[in-house]
């Protein structure tokens, strides 16, 4: 599904990634662990085609990614990838429903259809009845569930999650993990960056990183 070959990333004088080779297979639930500064988030950004490697190649669905093709990459991000971050990054101007709708509208879906699908997702994630609220009217755990719904609306092949439970209490953390496992069981590939081994153990595979390398 996603493959990185000999990927290096240099920022300024610092080499963040020092030759990464990794393949994420379809339907996998992969947890990437490592200490802070080990390069796990940088690797995730390259996997998610948000950042380009300084050296090396990235393949998505066996096709080599040309990072100069911005339109094409944006289309892949919109249709085939979903992102969940430690901070929810919900847009404060929009209601919860509208936040979830945005990627679908970007895809070209009719507004009514997008609204329906967003509502179904929010309902599935236990947010029915709160769809018209603004983000400041809900809790941190609920915000993260809205962010997950937003990542799922275009039925992506892969969900890339960067410390998705980093700001949550244990109850909400487990709730998010349960959602991921549920999504994964339906065939969606999940790559999750975490520094908590307990959470990583719930994934199919654990990839450990240290100083820009996979151990």
């Amino acid at each position: 599904m996603i493959e990185l070959r000999g990927v290096k990333k240099v920022i300024g004088q610092e080499e963040i990634l020092k030759g990464i080779d990794i393949e994420i297979k379809k339907g996998e639930f992969v947890a990437i662990i490592g200490a802070s500064g080990s390069g796990k988030s940088s690797m995730l950004y390259i996997m998610g085609l948000l950042d380009r490697p300084t050296e090396g190649e990235v393949f998505f669905e066996e096709e080599r990614i040309d990072f100069s093709e911005e339109e094409k990459i944006s289309k892949i991000r919109n249709q085939k990838l979903g992102f969940v971050f430690q901070f929810h990054y919900l847009l404060p101007e929009f209601s919860l429903l509208e936040n979830v709708m945005i990627p679908a509208i970007r895809l070209g879906m009719r507004r009514e259809e997008a609204r329906e699908r967003a509502y179904e997702l929010l309902k599935r994630l236990g947010l029915a009845g709160k769809e018209n609220r603004k983000i400041y009217q809900i809790s941190g755990g609920e915000m993260q569930r809205v962010a997950i719904a937003r990542a799922l609306i275009n039925k992506p092949l892969v969900i890339l999650a960067d410390e998705p439970t980093g700001n949550l209490d244990s109850k909400n953390t487990q709730a998010v993990m349960d959602i991921f496992k549920d999504i994964n069981s339906e065939g969606t590939t999940i790559v999750m960056v975490t520094h908590e081994l307990e959470l990583a153990r719930q994934a199919h595979r654990i990839v450990e990183m240290k100083d820009g390398r996979i151990l």
Binding site: E70, S74, R77, F83, L91, E93, R106
Partner: protein, 406 residues
């Protein structure tokens, strides 16, 4: 485009107070543009239209030095020299009337004089006209209060006097007897047959029309004319036609644009000053737009990053912010147009005596819809220009840098 509008409208609506201030800024600029242009062009067009209607489009007259001679003859009391006349004027007129560009022509004899009424007297410009031929070369009748041009034909000592000449002498009624003193010292008792009111102060304050034959006789210049006036098909081509005629006729040929070049130059300067003021207002409103969009971009870096992660391209991001500038511009223009329209209506209803270069009973406004189109175009241009840089900045943001910085 649907998704661009969806996001752009939301962002603007959420900051409605700042948005409203920006919209009002544009509205004021648009309103100022419409009203100031309307006032300025209204006045200028009115003046030019009066001049075009009243004055000949082209004048043929003896060269400048000949007119100078007449000044000395007035001072010295001598008879004008031969130069202050147009020789063979009948042939010239005949030739000119064959020209398809010429609608009509008429001969005139022009002199200075003094009009006396009781103890009052006033220096005037005496224009000897042929009452039958004159309407072919000007729309003089339109400016006559009683439309009695034909009376100059039947009453050879009849005169038509400018409304301000009449006011200076204290004449309010027709039939009043006046003494006309010519430069050669001769005088004639004349009667007022009509008043002439063009609305242009310097014309109404000096002109007196009289039958050309009477004036020729008074000046002892039988059969002489010193001006041929032309009305042409295309008033804007007067200058070109005047240059062409100059090649053929050994006299001074002057277009209306040349005769009024001082005024037209003043209008140009007036336009420059007015538009500079209006553009200053529009620039200030553009800075308002720049400010709000730049603030949005700086405050919304995280949102821009997540939009990009969700598949929005750099172009989409650029458009989201450009569209915000455009929306402010469009709403500002609409509100500004309504304000401008309202202010025009008000100014048009105001009754006051304006007496300067022109005389009117209120503001003369140009109500042309094209002014609204120009205001719209300028305001949209300024709005887009103001939003260009912040939008570009937004589109160049690197989402990864923003995610890393959190």
């Amino acid at each position: 485009m649907n998704y661009i509008l969806f996001v752009a409208f939301k962002m603007l609506f959420e900051r409605r107070r700042q948005t409203l201030v920006s919209v009002l800024g544009v509205s004021v600029g648009v309103c100022a543009f419409i009203v100031m242009s309307s006032l300025m062009l209204g006045f200028q067009n009115y003046f030019i239209q009066q001049v075009i209607d009243l004055e000949p489009h082209i004048k043929i007259k003896p060269r400048e030095e000949a007119q100078e001679v007449e000044k000395y003859t007035i001072l010295l009391g001598a008879k004008p020299k031969e130069k202050d006349r147009i020789l063979g004027w009948q042939e010239i007129i005949k030739d000119l009337e064959e020209d398809p560009q010429v609608l009509g022509s008429a001969e005139r004899l022009i002199s200075r004089g003094i009009l006396k009424y009781g103890i009052k007297d006033k220096p005037i410009t005496l224009i000897g006209i042929n009452p039958q031929r004159e309407p072919k070369a000007s729309v003089i009748e339109r400016f006559l209060v009683y439309k009695r041009l034909d009376k100059l034909e039947t009453n050879r000592t009849g005169v038509i006097i400018g409304s301000l000449v009449a006011r200076s002498l204290g004449i309010k009624e027709l039939g009043k007897k006046l003494v006309l003193v010519a430069p050669n010292g001769k005088s004639l008792l004349v009667s007022v047959e009509d008043f002439f009111d063009s609305g242009i102060t310097n014309i109404d304050d000096t002109r007196v029309y009289i039958n050309i034959k009477t004036l020729q006789s008074l000046l002892e210049r039988q059969g002489e004319v010193n001006e041929i006036v032309l009305k042409i098909r295309d008033v804007d081509s007067a200058e070109r036609l005047a240059r062409e005629l100059k090649e053929k006729i050994p006299y001074e040929v002057e277009s209306w644009q040349r005769a009024y070049r001082n005024f037209l130059s003043i209008f140009k300067i007036q336009n420059i000053i007015t538009y500079m003021i209006v553009f200053a207002i529009l620039t200030v409103s553009a800075f308002g737009i720049f400010n709000i969009i730049m603030m949005t971009v700086l405050e919304k870096k995280k949102d821009i990053a997540i939009l990009m992660a969700m598949g929005f391209t750099r172009r989409d991001t650029l458009l989201i912010f450009m569209v915000q500038g455009l929306i402010i511009g469009v709403f500002g223009s609409i509100i500004g147009s309504f304000l401008g329209f309202g202010l025009q209506e008000y100014l048009e209803s105001v009754r006051l005596d304006v007496e300067g270069l022109i005389r009117t009973k209120g503001f003369v406004l140009d109500r042309s819809p094209i002014l609204y189109l120009y205001a719209f175009a300028f305001s949209l241009f300024f709005s887009l220009l103001a939003s260009l840089y912040p939008s570009y900045r937004a589109s160049r943001l690197n989402p990864v840098d923003i995610f890393r910085s959190q």
